[in-house]
């Protein structure tokens, strides 16, 4: 079916004597455009590479295809075996940087591990934790943070309630309670 369709267009262009040339070149331009389209994103190939079977891709597109199926590395078009090493980068005329597009895809980022935050991790173990590590952490960190805030009478903390109000009294009371708790802990630590 496809061949019969092209035949009819050829016939019509040759029969239309004068304008025939013009339309043919236009056709060719169109073909050229799609010839340099990536077979994966269907857009003009950027950082183009060609597989050994001759199929054109953007390197980022092909790279992602290879990453998606690490166990089945086949050409997305003809399913021939392909590999990262066996693709040819394409350099057009006038491209200033002749760098291998395969080097442009950032290498896979290394896994990132963040250590648990000691302040938050320590607190849950602070009461009757079964875990000795957590417990000592909590006790160590907690009172110190506390002393710095409670013994800091000189400069008013932002957000501290005005003197004499109910809230102020409550805060004062709480501070004392915690101060006592801290002292008790230090005492308990020394005894233990």
């Amino acid at each position: 079916m496809a061949s019969s369709a092209t035949e009819t267009t050829k016939e019509s262009s040759t029969s239309g004597s004068g304008s025939g040339d013009n339309s043919e070149t236009k056709d060719e331009e169109k073909k050229d455009d799609s010839m340099f389209e990536c077979n994966i994103c269907l857009d003009t190939a950027r950082d183009a590479v060609v597989s050994m079977c001759g199929h054109l891709f953007c390197w980022p597109c092909l790279h992602q295809w290879l990453e998606t199926r690490p166990n089945r590395q086949v050409c997305p078009v003809c399913k021939a075996a392909i590999s990262k090493e066996k693709v040819v980068p394409l350099y057009g005329r006038g491209s200033t940087k002749q760098e291998d597009p395969r080097e442009k895809v950032p290498p896979r980022p290394a896994g990132q591990r963040t250590e648990p935050d000691p302040a938050t991790a320590g607190f849950p173990g602070f009461g009757f934790g079964e875990n000795g590590f957590h417990m000592s952490f909590g006790i160590g960190a907690f009172p110190f943070g506390f002393f710095t805030s409670t013994l800091n009478f000189g400069e008013p903390r932002p957000g501290a309630a005005p003197r004499g109000t109910q809230q102020h009294l409550e805060e004062q009371f709480l501070s004392k309670v915690f101060l006592w708790l801290a002292v008790l802990f230090i005492f308990w630590l020394l005894m233990a």
Partner: protein
């Protein structure tokens, strides 16, 4: 990546609309929503098959990782075929699974499904009952598939024998599709179908 998927579906959509298969009314694609994540496909039953003259509607869902992973396709039109579930419309076709390749498009998927209607693969079935009938009683399979095409896909071949048997079960209080499914599964043996439905 969702961006790549939408961009590509847009391009493919234009490609399918311009394709000669659409001109011949063999395949069709329509958008279901504006985000290009869900489409409605249509394929014509291939000539010289029990599906001839029928139009089969497909649900196409485009994953965010498209085209690196295949679209999810399912028959919305009920169909009697060894590789398609007569209950859910699920399709057993390798290119929609591990044989998918990123250069395939909506157009190639629809054409592959059309080819599947022409050439069933009963050794790799999706619907075991249909596949068994296909292997053991091909004539009965063709009668059944043609009847389903007539009822659900607008095919031209009315089978009055099938219709009569279904009517008898419907008169006994069975729902029409349930009656059709039971009769289809038992090679249109009214007695055995009745037995199964009332057991």
């Amino acid at each position: 990546m969702a961006n790549i998927a939408a961009q590509r579906i847009k391009r493919e959509f234009k490609e399918v609309i311009k394709s000669e298969e659409v001109a011949k009314c063999a395949i069709k694609v329509e958008l279901v929503n504006d985000s290009y994540t869900e489409l409605k496909g249509e394929i014509a039953g291939p000539p010289d098959t029990p599906y001839e003259g029928g139009t089969f509607v497909l649900e196409i869902k485009v994953p965010e990782t498209y085209p690196f992973n295949p679209p999810k396709v399912r028959f919305m039109t009920k169909i009697w075929h060894p590789n398609i579930s007569s209950v859910t419309g699920a399709i057993c076709l390798d290119i929609l699974k591990d044989q998918w390749a990123a250069a395939m498009t909506l157009r190639t998927v629809l054409l592959s499904l059309q080819a599947l209607l022409s050439a069933a693969e009963p050794d790799d079935p999706q619907d075991a009952v249909v596949a068994k009938q296909y292997r053991e009683n091909l004539e009965m399979f063709q009668i059944t598939a043609r009847h389903w095409t007539n009822v659900y896909a607008g095919g031209p071949h009315v089978n009055s024998d099938c219709d009569d048997k279904i009517r008898r079960l419907v008169d006994m209080g069975i729902e029409e599709h349930q009656a059709r499914a039971a009769l289809s599964s038992y090679n249109w043996d009214l007695e055995r179908a009745t037995e199964q439905l009332f057991s």
